[in-house]
Amino acid sequence: MPLDSRILDKFRAVVGRGLITEDSQLHTYECDGLTNFRVLPQAVLLPTSTEEVQAIVRICQREKIPFVARGSGTGLSGGALPVEKGIVISLARMNRILEVDLPNARMVVEPGVINADVTQRVAPHGYFYAPDPSSQSVCSIGGNVAENSGGAHCLKYGFTTTHVLALEVVLPDGSIVHLGSRTLDRPGYDLPGIFVGSEGTLGIATKIVLRIVKKPAVIQTLLAAFNSTEEAGAAVSGIIGAGMLPAAIEMMDNLAIQAAEASVHAGYPNCGGLLLVELDGPAAEVEHLIDEVGKICTQCGAWEIRVAQSEAERAVVWKGRKAAFAAMGHISPNYIVQDGVIPRTALPKVLSEMERMSAAQGLRVANVFHAGDGNLHPLVLYDGRIPGQEERAMELSIDILRLCVKCGGSITGEHGVGEEKKSMMPEMFAEPDLETMQLVRCAFDPEHLANPGKVFPRTRLCAERTGPYHPHPLEAAGVAQFF
């Protein structure tokens, strides 16, 4: 049932032409990057300011209309999937970079700013924004914040959460609050820490203070070809064991290499396991260590090693890796991307087990990993036209996640739980764990209006727990009103 016209009028009064209700246009918003889940929203609103977001959320609060925030819609877990009877609030028009503060290495941005634009803005001054999801040319900072997105270089530099210092947030009750501060260690609970990665369930970020990082003096990328992923995995352990912390360590198996070659011709050697190791830092340090990396790779069986030195050479080497997901389209009509994490030492075991599982289901699995931090992206290839294959592919991808959990890992390293993996949460967490996490939800959004039904398999009913108000002793004594 569509929203009644009284409510639509209220929305229109806030955003004017930024209100979409036409079915044909609404379809654009019915899913995110995970296209097998679709729900048509009641309406899509495109606010242009914090005040407009606040006005929209207030209406939602009064009318008990659930809302889903949306950035660029590239999420891979159904996080921005609309909810029944709900609206979508797209932050795409709030895309201004508000402030660049180089002496303090801070930037203030609106949530709709595209990830790559942040770095582009400060690159001329020798700075960059470290979290670099492969989708960086299209995904938004708001989406990154919600998913705590990672990228190849997070092994050394940390994930989104390390780089978000403060946020302005519209809470589900319509109030505006400021979490964290431009300075570090704001007294009180670490609210940015809990908001980042909350997948749109705690409110809508409307301003974000980011930390930017000085570009390293030197970056070198080494590419090594091995006969197998086992050998490549041993080299990863060797590098870490030698006490190095590379900026990135990425691995691809033969199927992933074939796909990358077919799509972007990165010039990768045709091998069983390919490793990309990037070192950055002071020149003397990097030059010394890249030799060591090369030696370790050779010892582990690498038969070809190339070191990309120039920016152009590096770009070519990375091109194949960054295009790996999309490249699957060249070797398979359909595929499912997964996002499991394992302790790095479990890699050989998990790989051989995955091989067995893929043979048993008769489906190919290509592997692209952030090998340094154990984040696997198995791509389960299938043909949706063949009856039953899609189901088998789903089953296989879920079984792979189970395997990750069994080995002490996680069901998601960076794509989030969203709609897709909420039913897997109990495999990783016990009931009390999930109930406890939801206490946070109850504190932020007791009525479950912000992206309801995501992340958790069951919704905790929020007890009215305001607690007795205790005036601070100083407040009571009339000495002070600090808070």
Partner: protein, 422 residues
């Protein structure tokens, strides 16, 4: 009440419970009991009984920072219990191949570090008083040292946690892998929460290698502005120190310390580059234990005041000037150690001059007006009863209260000691 004591005794054993003495006092309040549960389940059990009996519970680790926080508000509770984590003292697992470690909350930092060093690894953190301070206490107070310029603070190192809640729930969050976004990030929420949401029983950290080489160099600078300029110049070039701090005092010129870690050639090359950048400053011999300068701020007299301050890195120089003016007017002596990331520690020795409180408030206002903060870590009780040690939580205070109300609706854990009287 007696029923509660006997229930507690039945749970943990008589030998792990005793009446508290003056030595156990927290800011002058002597609790009734000290209890030392033997594991996470027992911690949860103790909390459940204490909650049922209307007790207040003060979690305690290595007793090094028990005076951090506001005065305890236990008047509405039927009694007060210190819950010591001293028996939760194991390094449960060092998965060195994965560079993670699982550690119980009561384990001292030094013990953890010694265990990890056996495989050439470390928790890249340099907290105060590592011989006594426990992992749980370090986390609850979010205590980080100069290494954070390179490795981040506790929130960047912790990947998993087990919390015992007042209702007896034992809840895990995070996990054993460095990269993990399944569910809300409770390890971060617990970090710096001063034990007001739950008692940390176990933690999991990501680790870093012990550096191959370490080098330190120090410079003497003309004044605060020059020291600040030097630190900013270092930040704005692409050398990567693992420690950058300013030491300053009423009686001396500010000095800047830099630490480099890595390969020998890497360290040497960075030192050379640093010397070029700092050609205007005079190189001096670093004092012994220079990277412990922070802990030395606490040494000595009773009337001591130690504050933690935060500000934007580019405002360190201005702040130094303010301190100098303020202390001259009040005839205080002062010393401070500030990390380049904008976190510092200030010691004031001023006797009991009457206007200390208002001077601290002015200083705090100046910092808060630019997004910073001033937190009193140590001060005489007479001062603590006149000032909130934390300062303002801004418009997020209601949200913080909601969180507290969800986790600890009855106000069992450390009542009143946290920000805004939480």
């Amino acid at each position: 009440m007696d029923a509660a004591w006997s229930d507690l005794q039945a749970l943990v054993g008589a030998e792990n419970m005793r009446a508290a003495t003056a030595e156990d006092a927290v800011d002058g309040v002597v609790p009734q009991m000290v209890i030392e549960p033997g594991g996470a389940e027992e911690v949860a059990g103790v909390l459940k009984i204490a909650t049922g009996a209307g007790l207040a519970v003060i979690p305690r680790g290595g007793r090094t920072k028990m005076d951090w926080g506001n005065l305890l508000r236990n008047s509405e509770r039927s009694g007060t219990l210190i819950l010591s984590t001293s028996r939760l003292n194991r390094v449960v697992e060092h998965a060195w191949g994965d560079m993670t470690a699982t550690v119980e909350a009561g384990c001292t930092f030094q013990r953890v570090q010694e265990t990890l060093a056996q495989h050439g690894q470390r928790l890249a953190l340099d907290p105060l008083w590592p011989e006594q301070a426990t992992i749980g206490g370090i986390l609850a107070t979010n205590d980080t040292g100069p290494l954070r310029v390179r490795f981040g603070s506790l929130r960047d190192l912790i990947i998993g946690i087990t919390l015992a809640l007042p209702d007896g729930t034992l809840a895990k969050s995070g996990g054993k892998v460095v990269k993990n976004v399944a569910g809300y990030d409770l390890p971060k929420l617990a970090t710096g929460s001063l034990g007001t949401l739950g008692i940390i029983t176990q933690t999991i950290f990501r680790l870093h290698p012990v550096p191959r080489e370490t080098r330190t160099l120090s410079f003497s600078t003309a004044d605060g502005a020059a020291a600040n300029a030097l630190v900013l110049a270092i930040q704005d070039c692409n050398i990567v120190p693992t420690g950058v701090q300013i030491r300053a005092a009423s009686s001396a010129m500010p000095e800047v310390d830099l630490r480099f870690e890595g390969t020998a050639p890497g360290c040497e090359a960075q030192i050379e580059q640093t010397l070029r950048i700092c050609s205007g400053a005079r190189r001096v011999e670093p004092p012994e234990n220079v990277w412990n300068a922070r802990s030395e701020l606490w040494s000595g007299t009773e009337s001591l005041i130690v504050c933690k301050f935060t500000l934007l890195p580019a405002e360190l120089g201005t702040f130094l000037t303010s301190i100098r003016k303020l202390s001259e007017a009040l005839q205080w002596s002062w010393r401070l150690v500030a990390q380049s990331v904008g976190v510092g520690y200030l010691r004031l020795d001023g006797g009991n001059s009457g206007n200390v409180v208002s001077a601290l408030q002015n200083l705090r206002e100046e910092l808060e007006s630019r997004g910073g903060s001033l937190v009193l870590l140590r001060c005489p009780l007479a001062i603590k009863s006149k000032i909130d040690v934390w300062g303002s939580a801004g418009d997020a205070l209601p949200l913080m209260r909601n969180i507290k109300a969800q986790f600890d609706p009855e106000g069992v854990l450390n009542p009143g000691r946290f920000i805004g009287g939480i």
